[in-house]
């Protein structure tokens, strides 16, 4: 027994390193005086980056390990969860960098952003490898409760506090509904372990199916709220717009990837094998929701004035695209989702980084602020154009390969209707992504003033983040090999 726990702890090191980092950050933060500027707290950021780097190295090192359950199968460590965690760690590191450079967070509170972001990351990592309902609930709540604080981080700003209020109310309601669903699932199948639930739902009588069907739909509400898919997406644009920009960047990566990861695990574990009445309900509603999520996200993005809000809607539609991969219930689908997650990470980061520095210069993030960027900062404008092409799914950029993989999985399983809907959505998406490109290239700007945020270091970081957007679109076979290894481990 003791040896088992020691072995579990050995496989749990990435999370433990992050917890230690978070505690360490609290101490480091307290060594600074009360009115110290957040961007000057070098040791704090060094500690945060060091912790994240150790975690990343540890995670990459454990990619090849044999999959297995730890802590009496409460958590599963498999290549899929490890890859999802790697995506989340990179996203957190980049968001912390952006929070240091951005003017959108009060300078005194910049240290707090780093601490809370790492807390959210721990929740996301728990969620990505959750293998029973308790860990799922704890993961979702760790993720959510700290996210509410992040959303209202700009505490004297009425928009930010309103974003936090809306986020916490919607979050509380959906978590409650999810728990109520879970409690009835527990009542029928008698265990909270996913493995035990799989055994039980193979043979059910009509009565049990009648209870389980609405319960699983309620259970989906909690996960769907984290992904911001359609019936539960109302909070997303408001929260994304009201939060400070580094927080929005963070929200569109970490909770979303964690939610997709847990959705993939739940779907593949419960409904991967057999064909039962429940599978039809779950997969049927998932495919309708995925199609709706894409369409609503894309159509709402068209009329927006604020780039941040447009990116929020576009991230909703990308979540819909990733859900299409879940519907396939196949390994190609999971590979496609992981690849999509990796490309989505870099595309989102570049788009938000550039938007953030433009917003810091002009005070708002309306589309007109991008006018004539190409004459002022040609390199940044070219990176932004590449990212927009990639987000719209135009070859040779990585977004195209990512979409292609999902299409491949859909057609492999004969979901032609979904594939057609996804294709039509891509056409709609091109319109609003290319609007920014048009403004940057063909409009002339009102002033010749340069954007002061585009210093050498920031340009270098944006360039480094842009490299994968291009490279993954050309040399994608290597990453596909890695993503192919991301098998879900089912006990």
């Amino acid at each position: 027994m003791l040896l088992n726990y020691l072995a579990s702890i050995a496989r749990f090191t990435p999370e433990i390193i992050l917890v230690v980092t978070m505690i360490g950050l609290l101490f480091v933060e307290s060594t600074y005086s009360n009115d110290a500027k957040g961007s000057k707290k070098g040791y704090l950021y060094a500690t945060a980056y060091l912790g994240l780097l150790f975690t990343l190295v540890k995670l990459i090192g454990s990619l090849g390990d044999a999959p297995g359950g730890i802590f009496t199968n409460a958590l599963t460590i498999d290549p899929f969860s490890t890859l999802a965690k790697i995506i989340m760690v990179i996203g957190t590191g980049a968001s912390i960098y952006l929070s240091r450079r951005s003017d959108d967070i009060y300078d005194k509170l910049k240290g707090e952003f780093a601490i809370i972001a790492i807390g959210v990351l721990i929740g996301g990592m728990l969620l990505a490898s959750a293998n029973n309902m308790l860990m799922l609930y704890i993961g979702i709540e760790t993720l959510s409760i700290l996210s509410y604080v992040l959303a209202s981080l700009k505490k004297n700003d009425d928009r930010s506090s309103e974003a936090g209020l809306k986020y916490s109310l919607y979050g509380g309601i959906s978590a409650g509904i999810m728990l109520f669903g879970m409690s009835h699932i527990f009542g029928v199948v008698g265990t909270i372990q996913f493995a035990g639930i799989v055994d039980k739902i193979q043979a059910l009588d009509t009565m049990q199916v009648a209870i389980l069907m609405p319960s699983f739909l309620m259970f989906f509400a909690g996960i769907g709220y984290k992904i911001a898919c359609v019936p539960f997406h109302m909070w997303a644009p408001d929260v994304y717009e009201g939060s400070p920009l580094p927080v929005t960047t963070f929200f569109s990566i970490v909770p979303k990837i964690a939610g997709i990861a847990v959705l993939v695990r739940v779907t593949m574990t419960f409904f991967g094998g057999d064909t039962s009445a429940l599978q039809m309900t779950w997969v049927g509603s998932l495919s309708v929701i995925a199609a709706l999520t894409m369409t609503v996200g894309n159509v709402s993005a068209i009329g927006q004035r604020s780039v941040k809000r447009m990116l929020a809607y576009s991230s909703i539609s990308h979540a819909g695209m990733m859900m299409m991969g879940v519907v396939c219930l196949s390994e190609i689908g999971v590979t496609g989702i992981i690849f999509y997650g990796i490309t989505y990470l870099f595309m989102t980061l570049v788009a938000f980084f550039i938007t953030s520095f433009v917003q810091d210069e002009y005070g708002n993030d309306h589309f007109e602020r991008f006018n004539g960027l190409i004459t002022k900062h040609p390199l940044m404008a070219i990176f932004m154009i590449m990212t927009m092409f990639s987000l719209a799914g135009i070859p040779p950029f990585s977004g195209f390969v990512a979409k292609f993989n999902i299409f491949n999985a859909l057609i492999d399983k004969d979901f032609y209707v979904l594939a057609i809907i996804a294709g039509m959505n891509s056409v709609v998406a091109i319109y609003y992504y290319l609007k920014i490109v048009r403004l940057m290239v063909f409009k002339s700007s009102e002033s010749e003033e340069k954007v002061s945020g585009f210093g050498f270091t920031n340009q270098l970081v944006i360039a480094i983040l842009t490299v994968p957007v291009l490279v993954l679109g050309i040399f994608w076979e290597n990453i596909i090999v890695v993503a192919n290894g991301a098998k879900i481990f089912i006990q």
């Binding site: 509410y148 604080v149 506090s161 809306k166 109310l169 978590a175 008698g190 009201g242 927006q304």
Partner: protein
Amino acid sequence: MVSLPSFLVVSLILFLAGIAVMIARKNVIAILLGIELILNAAALNFAAYTRFINNNLDGHVMSLFIIVIAAAEAAVGLAIVIRFYQIRESIHIDDATQLQS
């Protein structure tokens, strides 16, 4: 002897009451109370199922964690409500209108 169905009926009533409070009331504190009602309905369900059907510890552990996490959520929620009140001088949900397309 109190049986399982009576517990389930009570928890269903709690759940519906929570939903009704969230839909009908416009006061943010009342909505937070409605969330607590829903969470308690779920906790009661877990405890009742584990007592009458399953006889394992899973349900008790879940109920305990629900109580703990509900407290944490209420604390953060109330802190945000206080910030909102200091800025807007109201805790009416209809006053949260800054963020609309």
